[in-house]
Assembly symmetry: none
Homo-oligomer: 410 residues x 2
């Protein structure tokens, strides 16, 4: 099965945004056994877009698009598909009802121009989009398929995973893929590459190494005729990877550190509080990204100045003696916020986010303390980089150590 | 002058890399007054690539390519151009000498397959590439131009800036672009589109509407023969947009709300503190993303439970009487954190991030209070969505209202 991707939007041709949607979809197709020969970016222009669809339908079995499904005059993906197929768009009463209900829930009326998001052509059915107002289009005609998805990556990936990929999987049959994502933290991409060097030569299963904000991810993938054969091929390689990476591994597939930490806290009936300086609230924000986090997260303090640290229970003498960025102050922050918020576990994070040095310490210097009332552990780290990278890495590091402690493994 | 970009390389179709070269080139063309209608990614395949060149030469004046100029059998950009134009590649003794000298300097012999990097067709001249071994090709035939550049971004951008862009600038004879990005917050894309409807029909200057996490952005672009003419054309349209969008406008071009708020606080010598519940630390984190924010940000409290709110100075009776998600509690949070942290301005944010209701209030219900010690203002908002969207929007909303208050405009 031959596929082609068309990413739609004038902003792609202005260089204002990079087309990550196409790269995402391209990365998804091999697992479905679908070959990809062409990707293109086309602006919001009816004539050029209709041409692009006509050409794509002449040479590809499946055309995947993202973008141009919005309510504005600019958005002409539907119109272009209709033009390429010589069909007419008709408002669907049920889709319209659904759309109006969305705006009613939002407490506003529906702008009249949004009604075009409720249209279909005879060859198309609507693909549900619970993440936004624009349903996608699934078009089948003359043995060709068009799947038109919305442009916002969050909406597009959701629709791909839950609607479009399953439909394509049914159509392709054939080769199956088993795949596992192993997530590590604490060592760099080059070092991981070196450690896995003998395994990386393997072709099936294969291993991909990806640097992500929450550490290095390893994608192990096996292909076979059936799912159980693919799984059987996959498993020994995953075990080799786990044996090699040891304690740096913190999760698999869709796991996030904040979700795993939350599940552990819930299971153990423990509560958490944070006091952070260099991460500036990011640690608390990531923890509270998890629905239901109010069950175990009591609250936190962003102690961006020494006065606020002192007012929140950190002994000012410690700061004067050791500096705000020190093991001692991290420890005192964890203990103080634990008591103040009445939590079982307190986490303290102090460090230098940069770009300037502080107290003679270089950006990237961070102390993370975890106090459970019986014992306190401090993890000093140094990993330089940009301000946002330091904040993100310190946050990940705090959650990583917290997870290991909750598992009794550090 | 109409241009088109072809990015060449099978890895682009595997989703292994994102095509940043195309986005870079796309961003460069407006300033040259060159219109870009198509971008595509094509694999290292002679037949498909030759087709892509034939089609591109039929519809575009200039074809810019990157990739496929390496020495391996996979690299067939030259071969595809030759095939599309019906010309034959011939080794150029001078280029070959140059190439051999490069390898000699490196202390190795030249692998024989590299000799194809020293070829040309009659319509092509070589574009020097001091950053690598592969010279580019500048092809002129029948009034069409192909500029074939290497794939590695460092080599491509160098060749673009020093060789290709200057040649194109000469050819276009100076159409120039002036452009301004206007950033708004508080109303949806459909509504903005409706408000600007009469202006959106204009072709030069043109207006693009983009939905972003920090609101709706409007890109106004004007083309003219000189920069000052373009600016003169741009200005009245920008003023019309500003008049239409009124108080929803909060910034231009590279502005961010957190940077603007920080600059205003610094200029006025004021300090800030935050107490937040539903945003869970995101507001403090965004504020502290700005380098130097420790000059004006004292700190914050993430009061995720009523006990922490009470322990941080919010009257428990207010919570019992009005609920934690209420105008009264938002006001008390702003006042309490202002006092506790010794700041000039306190911001309180309380709301329901979801997915569940709280106190019978629906996810998306948020109260933002700002207290400067003399007066307190509360902004109730309701904008439903996913948890992460609600957190992000409440944070943006708090910064937006804070900016307007600091400017004395709300």
């Amino acid at each position: 099965m031959k596929a082609e991707i068309i990413s739609i939007g004038t902003e792609l041709l202005m260089g204002q945004i990079v087309d990550t949607n196409a790269a995402y979809l391209a990365g998804q197709l091999p697992a479905l056994g679908v070959d990809l020969y062409f990707i293109s970016q086309v602006g919001d222009n009816l004539g050029r877009l209709a041409d692009a669809f006509t050409r794509a339908l002449a040479r590809s079995d499946v055309v995947l698009t993202s973008g141009g499904l919005g309510p504005t005059e600019d958005d002409v993906t539907r119109e272009s598909i209709a033009a390429a197929l010589g069909e007419t768009m008709v408002v669907q009463p049920e889709l319209e009802r659904h759309l109006r209900a969305f705006f009613t829930r939002r407490g506003t009326g529906m702008p009249e121009r949004n009604v075009k998001q409720a249209t279909l052509i005879p060859s198309a059915t609507a693909i549900p989009n619970p993440k936004g107002t624009a349903p996608g289009w699934w078009v089948e005609k003359n043995g060709r398929i068009i799947a038109a998805m919305p442009g916002p990556p969050r909406e597009m990936t959701y629709m791909w995973e839950n609607e479009v990929a399953p439909r394509l999987r049914k159509l392709t049959g054939g080769v199956t893929i088993a795949s596992r994502l192993v997530k590590t933290f604490g060592i760099g991409e080059g070092k991981v590459d070196e450690m896995l060097s003998p395994l990386l030569k393997s072709n099936n299963p294969s291993i991909g190494v990806y640097a992500k904000p929450d550490g290095i991810h390893l994608r192990v993938t096996a292909k076979a005729a059936t799912q159980s054969e693919a799984e059987a091929l996959l498993q020994p390689m995953v075990e080799k990877v786990l044996a090699t990476m040891g304690e740096t591994v913190w999760g698999f597939d869709g796991d996030t550190l904040e979700t795993s930490v939350g599940a552990l806290l819930k299971a153990k009936g423990l509560t958490l509080a944070t006091m952070e300086s260099c991460t500036g609230g990011l640690l608390a924000s990531v923890i509270t990204d998890v629905p239901g986090s109010s069950d175990y997260f009591k609250g936190g303090v962003v102690s961006y100045t020494n006065e606020v640290k002192a007012a929140s229970g950190v002994d000012a003498k410690l700061i004067a003696e050791h500096g705000a960025v020190s093991e001692q102050v991290a420890r005192a922050m964890a203990a103080a916020v634990r008591t103040r918020c009445g939590a079982d576990i307190g986490v303290g994070v102090t460090g230098v986010a940069g770009p300037s040095e502080m107290e003679g310490k270089r950006p990237g210097t961070v102390f993370i303390a975890i106090d459970d009332g019986r014992a306190a552990r401090v993890f000093p780290t140094f990993w330089p980089g940009e301000r946002s990278v330091i904040k993100r890495r310190a946050t990940t590091s705090a959650l990583f150590h917290l997870k290991k402690l909750l598992e009794g493994r550090a």
